[in-house]
């Protein structure tokens, strides 16, 4: 991968807490150095809201919990040359997948009826339909690089991106692990 023109990057979150993106921002002053090598074309962190036709690196945070998540994952796979699963939710389901032991109807009932104090009702509009089972991203699309951690540290994200910028294949197990 050459350093000129800049490497293009897209990121988004599926069923996650946005913590992995916060960890990305935690790279602090290194973001300025990073900006010399990459252009973030699409992300919750930037203004552009349309996923470009072709992006070099796609970064997905969060697990696949709804139909919308599946669409996002498929779109990223289609438009990104390298797809990264960032964080434990993306890599193995993590906390969102803890609802898998219960029936979806029971989960929804518990969240929107049993524990609601006012106007208990199940939302049907403006929210994506939840899937019965929460899955990691690689259960619905092929993933190229897995970066575990909850969240992966800023150093870990820096390492992975630096290796890719240098044209090398990163080895995330050297710097991070499940639950790190």
């Amino acid at each position: 991968m050459s350093t000129s023109p800049k490497i293009t990057v897209a990121t988004t979150w599926l069923d996650g807490c946005s913590g992995c993106h916060m960890s990305f921002l935690d790279m602090d002053e290194r973001l300025i150095e990073l900006a010399q090598h990459i252009d973030i074309l699409y992300s919750p962190l930037v203004d552009n809201k349309i996923l470009p036709e072709s992006v070099d690196i796609g970064i997905l945070e969060g697990s696949v919990s709804s139909d919308e998540d599946v669409e996002k994952a498929r779109a990223f796979r289609k438009h990104c040359k390298i797809l990264i699963s960032l964080g434990d939710c993306a890599v193995n389901g993590n906390v969102p997948a803890m609802r898998n032991h219960f029936k979806l109807a029971d989960v929804i009932d518990h969240a929107y009826r049993e524990t609601a104090t006012l106007q208990a009702q199940i939302p049907t509009q403006q929210v994506p339909a939840l899937r019965a089972i929460v899955q990691p991203i690689h259960a619905v699309v092929e993933v190229d690089i897995y970066v575990p951690g909850c969240p992966p540290s800023a150093d870990t994200i820096w390492y992975v991106l630096s290796e890719l910028i240098a044209g090398r294949q990163p080895n995330p197990s050297a710097v991070t692990r499940f639950g790190a």
Binding site: D88, Q135, V143, P148, S173, F178, G179
Partner: protein
């Protein structure tokens, strides 16, 4: 199985591990020789001071002339043995074993009291497991919090039986045992009764300390707070054999 006491007239054999010429007592196992010489071999059920179980299969090694892989924990060294501990085949098998352990029950590291101090978690990192290729079974196992000091979370149990062995062999209580087969297999206290109702448990906590994961923990611990201390084990094991 009691640990063999060191016999005085034991022979010394020479062998090769990963091309390195070594000598060892003939009553030693491959894993013991590897640990003495700083050769890393992943393991989960093996623990110095407890009897050999040979269940986790992570310590499998290749021995020249053998048509199958051998568990380093349950194979004694012999004269002229040539052992490979880290071939691509072994790495592939170890990776798969760790992935299957993660897929079988629910090891959500980020919300585990043993996060950062867990042998399964470290084993995954050591074996390069950065994701699990097989689908998770998505089956829930119970938690027993009836004991006033300790808790067992079967979701995080890997059935290494260290708790069963330390309770029987070191504490002498034999509160723990194993019940059921296949995916129904579980460690139990007494006759599968709540731990807090156990007549035999001495509340010594040895099972908690030797448990490699967050399956057996102290009550009142929060995420990452359960740090285990296994220093007592080799000392007590040796003292039991001197008597």
């Amino acid at each position: 199985m009691p640990l063999p006491a060191n016999r005085p007239n034991v022979r010394v054999v020479t062998l090769q591990i990963d091309g390195q010429d070594l000598s060892a007592r003939e009553d030693e196992t491959i894993i013991e020789v590897c640990r003495e010489h700083g050769i890393p071999i992943p393991s989960l059920c093996y623990l110095d001071g407890l009897s050999i179980w040979g269940a986790c299969r992570l310590c499998l090694v290749e021995v020249t002339g053998q048509g199958r892989l051998l568990a380093a924990c349950s194979t004694r060294v012999t004269e002229g043995m040539q052992i490979q501990t880290n071939t691509e085949t072994l790495q592939r098998y170890r990776r798969t074993i760790v992935e299957l352990l993660f897929a079988e029950r629910n090891h959500v590291c980020s919300v585990c009291v043993s996060n950062g101090h867990c042998e399964l978690q470290f084993m995954a990192q050591m074996c390069g497991v950065d994701h699990v290729r097989v689908p998770h079974r998505q089956v829930s196992y119970p938690v027993d919090s009836s004991h006033e000091m300790f808790r067992v979370d079967h979701d995080r149990c890997i059935l290494c039986t260290r708790c069963v062995r330390v309770c029987d062999e070191i504490e002498g209580a034999h509160t723990w045992d194993v019940m059921g087969r296949g995916s129904d297999c579980q460690v139990i206290t007494d006759m599968a009764e709540p731990w807090g109702d156990s007549d035999t448990c001495t509340s010594c906590g040895k099972c908690v300390q030797v448990c490699p994961t967050g399956a057996l923990v102290k009550q009142g611990t929060s995420v990452g707070e359960m740090v285990k201390d296994q220093h007592f084990l080799p000392i007590l094991a040796r003292r039991r054999h001197i008597l």
